[in-house]
């Protein structure tokens, strides 16, 4: 961490360290116990405050941030649900960085997640040499979060087996971890002020239905939706893809008209409605903003490294086949129909170029 230039993606508290420091200095409002910022300060950190030089970091309804922060100030956990690619993890990272100044206490949920990775495990060499002692204990994020009064992030909680999810139950309601191997005061680790949990779950992979009712009750659910309007999404895709392209050493800016075609295509295939309100087929694949950014990135890379320019709708078609259709032949057919029937009707040189390039789709 000493040399940030080598880190591909530093955590939010490092990326926005000076903004956080400035907010902390100027923050005079009342802070909930254990919080690094007040609610108002945390909100400004996320939704932005141009006059104070705080950038907007999350595009979405401001009321969502309000609800999320107030939830964390109560004793319930926060559960962010939504389609993949709606920036749930980014939001949880930002909130954690704002609330406790640290976003790295993270459990990545998956089929192989065990209780050890959630609560604690042992340094077995020390355990054998010295017996159980605080020294041989290896704390996992939940234990650290509780002891230090920090926010713990639990990513993709619904991908964990039910029994592993359920070990969160007592932690969230009793707010204490019992370590039976240790004796005396070390045997019980109580949660300090500021401890709370932000979990994320996506609605595509394995539905949230598989969470037990008892665990659901300990969380407030917040659904994160795809960005509602074209202009905002376009701005975001442009800004993000520009950053990515710069980092990849591409010497030109992405073209706005190509990006507009890209974002419109993504939105229409995602919602199953054209911008003029006609219904059409929607793809089964996830067409998220994050995917749009990665396609924009790929288009830029192709254009620059293959031909030394910014990328054309033909590149877009080639990239779409991989992202949008993946290995699903039905989606590929839908995409082809979209390029044939919808793209041809739109005005603008880029749309026509997209239509012309439709034969580049495989199959």
């Amino acid at each position: 961490m000493s040399d940030n230039k080598k880190v591909q993606r530093p955590p939010a508290e490092v990326r926005f360290a000076d903004e956080l420091a400035r907010l902390r200095e100027s923050d005079t409002a009342h802070r909930p116990p254990g919080w690094a910022l007040s609610l108002q300060g945390a909100r400004r950190f996320i939704v932005g405050d141009p006059r104070a030089g705080i950038t907007r970091k999350f595009v979405g309804d401001p009321s969502l941030i309000d609800r999320a922060l107030v939830t964390l100030a109560t004793t319930r956990g926060l559960m962010l649900v939504g389609e993949p690619g709606t920036a749930k993890s980014l939001l949880s990272e930002l909130i954690a960085a704002a609330v406790c100044g640290e976003s790295t206490l993270t459990i990545q949920g998956g089929a192989a997640t065990t209780e050890d990775q959630i609560k604690y495990s042992w340094n077995y060499a020390l355990l054998v040499a010295e017996g159980p002692s605080p020294r041989s204990l290896v704390p996992a994020p939940m234990l650290r979060g509780m002891a230090e009064g920090k926010v713990v992030r639990f990513e993709e909680i619904t991908r964990c087996p039910l029994e592993v999810q359920d070990c969160m139950l007592s932690l969230l309601s009793e707010r204490v971890v019992a370590i039976p191997e240790l004796t005396g005061p070390d045997g019980m680790v109580f949660a300090n002020d500021g401890f709370t949990v932000i979990a994320t779950a996506n609605t595509r992979d394995r539905g949230v239905n598989e969470m037990s009712a008892a665990l659901k009750r300990r969380f407030n659910f917040e659904t994160v939706f795809p960005i509602a309007d074209l202009a905002t999404e376009l701005d975001l895709v442009e800004q993000e893809s520009r950053t990515l392209l710069e980092r990849s050493g591409v010497g030109v800016q992405p073209r706005r008209d190509v990006l507009e075609v890209l974002v419109t295509t993504f939105r229409e295939l995602r919602d199953g409605v054209t911008s003029s309100g006609q219904p059409m087929d929607r793809l089964t694949t996830v067409m998220s903003t994050a995917e749009a950014v990665s396609v924009a990135h790929a288009v830029g890379l192709r254009g620059w490294f293959l031909r030394g320019e910014a990328g054309t709708p033909a590149d877009l078609v080639e990239c779409l086949a991989g992202t949008a259709a993946k290995d699903n032949p039905d989606d590929l057919a839908r995409l082809r129909r979209y390029l044939e029937q919808q793209a041809s009707r739109r005005k603008g040189a880029q749309w026509q170029a997209l239509h012309q390039a439709r034969h580049l789709l495989p199959g």
Partner: protein
């Protein structure tokens, strides 16, 4: 001379309070209110003592356009409050905006929509600045939940900012110029006494500039053109309708909430909202626990504190409730964050929240309020025909009185007047049902619906006729048959030439044979038989028949495809076309000869699907095309095609098949010659094909087969099998499999 402009948002309790206070404090000579200037002579009518919500409903029709719009008032509308407060302090109260029929209001259904909704750029920026979701939340934040001090200044600053950056539409400019002329006249008339002007805040900055100076003489009230029909009437309104305006028509949402805000203040409204949501959810047996309520209240209080509100605002409460009550993912953003109606499939808690915000309050008019002539005409007609009661009514349509009563009821139904439901009756042309059963349920929604139906005419017959003509022009093709049948039921037979042209053009553009078929079945039935409703031989229906037949012939030749299960709807279309050619040839533009030629080509086209070929063959045969049926059947005798081909043939030419012994014998021979395996392949389609014969005719066929084979026995017995044919078929398939295994192992 001092003029005070109170510019606010329509249906805003905070602005209404400000209006009342301003008028009371200034006691002005004139109160000028944004509203239809042609209602000025009828202000007494508005102040009779109605129970809001009510609305002024205006309809207008001339040669070029027709238009209907509403000017809604609630208890807490600034305009409504201005009328009452102005009268109470002895001021001269006037509406000063253009009439609702004026071209400046074209396309506007709601006079009191938010003008600023059309200028989203500025409001979008303000929302970002205050970090709120949309303008409704911003409005609550800035005006409704804030203490009243300095409200006037805040409003001025807000609307100056909005107006300062927006480029104005022509319609707004026209209205503002007219309103300003009234303000100038009032200023001249008032002399030293104050004038109060109550308008939408979006217009205030412009009015302030335009109204500088005094100009004696009241402006003229615009009159509609001579040939136009139009009028304004008061109608009872409902919160649900007020909340149903969307897009550019929308105003303040959530009327029930603001009614509470007007009556009980911010804290009271929040309490009432929670109580209403919880009551509704529990009424629907959705669990809401005390723990949930505590969580909801904690969240709402926390949100209010975070957002700087002394008491929880509308969205603080809603956000709190949604956080506490919803414990799964939502399928769409909560409607109060995005401005717009709820789509189907929303979470039940959210549905109840939206319903609680809207409320179901319905206004009531004072009994002395004048009503349009249609209302009196309908009341008299219902009375005369004994239909003014409630309960079920049976009608005999063959009887003159029964027919008249039926027509009246159908006309009311077509106009969408609530409480007239038909339970049973004829369902299409040629339906041999001559009785109808209706259920009459009086409702308080009848009067507003009747007043609004007055746009179509002064008597029931005229209104229903106009409404149906409108529907003929707008109906999608699959509903067209229904509309034409409704016209017959209502006794509306004369439709003008342009309607006929519109109809034929519409029919000529349909791309689906099956849809055309549905239209044809109904219309041919009505054209042929309906002496009852007087539609037999009607030239309008004749034109539709002609157009549809031409179109079917055009489409049918382009239908290509390999073997596929028979499409029953498509076959019906061909059968209806055949009926049209056979019985209504006199009205057809495409004659019998052309029709037979087209379908002869289809029957011979190897690219066409088998069911269509069969039907096309039957078409020619039944119209005397002189085809060799035995040869045709032999030509299609493959196990994969024979069943579907026959389905087509039987659908169109059932009678002809019955009278041609050779065909039945040939079919017997073909089926008999099928191998076991082929028979199983052909069986489902064959069964479907023979289903076109009613049981008695199937028995006739069976008899002939028995006779031809020389075996005795009862034909009826042959048709009545104890075992499900599916089981038989499965048994045969199993046997075939066993045989195959035996053969493979050399044991056969």
């Amino acid at each position: 001379m001092a003029t005070t402009f109170v510019g606010g948002r329509h249906h805003s309790p905070a602005c209404a309070r400000l209006v009342a206070e301003t008028i009371e404090a200034l006691r002005p000579a004139h109160v000028l209110v944004e509203g239809p200037v042609d209602m000025n002579d009828r202000l007494d009518e508005l102040l009779l003592g109605h129970e809001p919500p009510i609305a002024v409903y205006t309809y207008y029709r001339d040669e070029e356009r027709s238009h209907a719009s509403w000017t809604p008032f609630c208890d807490y509308s600034p305009e409504w409050v201005a009328l009452a407060a102005g009268r109470a302090c002895g001021a001269r109260v006037r509406f000063i905006d253009l009439p609702a029929w004026h071209p400046a209001f074209t396309g506007r259904g709601n006079r009191y929509a938010d003008a600023e909704a059309r200028y989203t750029e500025v409001t979008g920026r303000l929302c970002r600045e205050f970090a709120v979701d949309n303008t409704d939340v911003l409005w609550d934040h800035l005006f409704e939940v804030e203490p009243a001090d300095g409200l006037a200044d805040r409003l001025t600053a807000y609307f100056d900012l909005l107006r300062g950056e927006a480029t104005t539409e022509h319609a707004d400019v026209e209205r503002e110029a007219y309103m300003a002329s009234w303000v100038r006249a009032a200023q001249a008339d008032a002399g030293d006494r104050p004038v109060v002007v109550v308008t939408g805040g979006f217009h205030t900055p412009a009015l302030r500039v335009l109204a500088a100076g005094a100009e004696p003489g009241w402006p003229e009230v615009p009159r509609p053109p001579q040939d136009a029909v139009g009028a304004s009437y008061l109608v009872p309104y409902s919160f649900r309708r007020l909340d149903a305006f969307t897009g550019y028509q929308s105003g303040m949402p959530s009327p029930e909430y603001y009614q509470h805000l007007w009556e009980d203040g911010v804290a009271g409204a929040a309490e009432a909202l929670v109580a209403s949501v919880v009551g509704r959810l529990r009424g629907r047996r959705q669990p809401v626990s005390t723990a949930d309520l505590i969580a909801a209240r904690t969240l709402a209080q926390g949100l209010a504190r975070l957002r700087g509100h002394a008491d929880p605002s509308r969205t603080d409460v809603l956000d709190g409730l949604v956080g506490a009550l919803v414990s799964e993912d939502l399928s769409q953003p909560p409607p109060w964050t995005v401005r717009g109606p709820l789509r189907p499939g929303a979470h039940p808690a959210v549905v109840e929240m939206v319903a609680a915000l809207s409320g179901d309050r319905v206004g009531a008019l004072h009994p002395d309020t004048p009503a349009p002539p249609l209302v009196a005409a309908v009341t008299a007609e219902l009375l005369a025909l004994g239909l003014d009661g409630s309960g079920e009514v049976d009608l005999d349509l063959a009887d003159d009185l029964g027919l008249r009563r039926g027509r009246t009821l159908h006309r009311l139904r077509v106009l969408g007047i609530v409480g007239f439901d038909r339970l049973a009756g004829p369902t299409g042309g040629g339906d041999p049902v001559f009785t109808e059963r209706w259920r009459l349920t009086p409702s308080d929604r009848r009067l507003p619906a009747l007043i609004e139906a007055a746009v179509h005419g002064a008597t029931l017959e005229e209104a229903a006729g106009a409404a149906l003509r409108g529907r003929v022009e707008d109906a999608p093709v699959d509903r067209l048959a229904e509309v034409l049948f409704d016209a017959a039921l209502c006794g509306v037979t004369a439709l003008s030439d342009d309607v006929v042209t519109a109809l034929t053009t519409r029919v000529g553009a349909v791309a689906d044979v099956a849809e055309l078929g549905r239209v044809l079945v109904v219309v041919v039935g009505l054209w042929r038989y309906d002496g009852l409703f007087g539609t037999a031989g009607s030239p309008v229906l004749g034109a539709v028949i002609s157009g549809a037949v031409t179109r079917v012939l055009w489409l049918v030749e382009g239908l290509h495809g390999g073997p596929a299960p028979a499409d029953h709807r498509r076959l019906l279309a061909l059968s209806a076309t055949r009926d049209a050619v056979r019985h209504a040839e006199s009205v057809l533009a495409t004659g019998r000869g052309e029709a037979v030629a087209v379908l002869g080509r289809v029957a011979a086209d190897p690219q066409a699907p088998p069911d269509l070929r069969g039907a096309a063959f039957g078409f020619c045969w039944s119209l005397g095309g002189g085809a060799d049926v035995v040869r045709a059947v032999r030509g299609m005798s493959g196990p994969r095609t024979i069943g579907d081909w026959l389905a087509g043939l039987f659908a169109v030419a059932r009678e002809e098949v019955l009278s041609a012994d050779a065909v039945i014998m040939l079919l017997d021979e073909l089926v008999h010659a099928l191998s076991e395996e082929d028979f199983l392949v052909a069986l489902p389609a064959l069964r479907q094909a023979f289903a076109y014969f009613p049981p008695a005719e199937r028995e006739t066929i069976a008899k002939r087969v028995l006779v031809a084979r020389g075996t005795g026995g009862s034909a009826r017995e042959l048709l009545r099998i104890d075992v499900d044919p599916v089981v038989v078929a499965e048994g045969m398939a199993l046997e075939a499999k066993v045989d195959a295994v035996l053969a493979r192992e050399g044991l056969a």
